[in-house]
Chain length 240, copies 2
């Protein structure tokens, strides 16, 4: 049986302008691989409502799950929640469950639960809250879309809140072999090896290290015994 | 006049599996911002021909330029050149100009210009080669799509080969102000500030630093004088 699939949607001008180097994609990719959900596509779009709505519709219709990061804070450029509501034709307003969490938090810290902070309690109708143990303001799941914050520490915490509730598949196992020969020498026998193992995915990732050319050959699959046998074969084809 | 737009297409299972953290997106985003080409969207897809062809068609029809990274080496999993040819209905074969570059290179290094290495000379009809000063095997430009290698050192060199040939726009300038107050306190006055400056883009990027909450407020625009005046105003709204 094939695994559930996923896409990620990163919302944020700061990635597209080159100001910030992505960390959330890298984190989520590793987490999903470990539980057997296949991340098939990532899109990064700017803080632009039509672009966000179009991407949510396209991805949620194609994959089992969509994970978004960014745009759910209290400032004017945080428009993700409204865009998700629009994509699914849901109403959105300050919701009692989210407002209760936030007002208790600000009461305990002596800060005012002002209009800007109330924006973070705007949750689309029918969405389920995602717990935020770092800074309280929740994410939410609407249909198959999981909406999370962009700040990496909060994103990571929300991923940890969401993933245990999802049904995973067979985790994708991977093993690699470092071969210090140019890819052009490796390619012929490696292609034949890949053709002999259609149930495994065989990748070649070239490197240059102080003028030495080589490649990391990565074999991925769900069957541990088959993977071990294939790696033994690969080690014979490319002895150290 | 508005700037030219761009999208990036990253082709590679290694990003989606969480094995590798992206570096090329971050590099290209910074380079494009500096020359006034607005990066509007990034997609990451796996080494899967239908997914690559569909993404190339969608992006090349929407943006002024598309930059791809990955999948142009000599191994069986390098399918990008064939996919680009398919997306534009072009034939593809070993091309004399690319083969000449590669055969001279391998002759000089004493390596065989074998079948696998000849794969790297497969270039779609009507494409223009992109110089690769690092490892010779060229990228190419077909219509508005610039096809480059995934190895970061080679990608960077190819970007440097391509960008001087493109017409840029007004570079997007940015200035930032670090404010050590919670976003919930900042949001009201910041939203009013943003509304007063519709020609500027105003972003708020929250941080937590040893328990201290704050935000980096980033103002972007093409008019240096307007940007300077706005930053002066912002510093008065949020004094240090």
């Amino acid at each position: 049986m094939s695994n559930p699939t996923a896409a990620m949607l990163v919302i944020g001008d700061e990635i597209l302008s080159g100001r910030t180097r992505d960390a959330n994609m890298y984190h989520l990719a590793g987490q999903l691989t470990a539980i057997g959900i296949d991340l098939k596509e990532v899109r990064v779009v700017s803080d632009d409502a039509p672009a966000i709505v179009a991407a949510v519709k396209a991805l949620s219709g194609t994959y089992t799950h969509v994970f978004t990061s960014g745009g759910i804070g209290p400032t004017h450029d945080d428009i993700t929640a409204d865009c998700i509501a629009a994509a699914f034709g849901k109403t959105i307003d300050v919701r009692a469950d989210a407002a209760a969490l936030l007002s208790a938090h600000y009461a305990s810290t002596g800060k005012e639960f002002n209009a800007a902070r109330q924006r973070m309690a705007r949750i689309p109708a029918d969405a389920i809250l995602i717990e935020n143990p770092v800074s309280v303001a929740p994410g939410f799941t609407l249909e198959n879309v999981h909406v999370m914050a962009g700040v990496p520490s909060v994103f990571t915490a929300m991923v940890a809140s969401v993933l245990p509730n999802l049904t995973g598949g067979a985790p994708l196992l991977s093993q690699s072999l470092r071969v210090v020969r140019g890819e052009g020498d490796i390619a012929g026998p490696l292609g034949e090896f890949a053709a002999r193992h259609p149930a495994l995915s065989v990748g070649s990732y070239p490197f240059q290290d102080n003028g030495v050319y080589g490649a990391n050959l990565v074999v991925r699959g769900q069957d541990k015994a088959a993977l071990n046998a294939a790696m033994a074969e690969l080690s014979e084809i490319f002895p150290a």
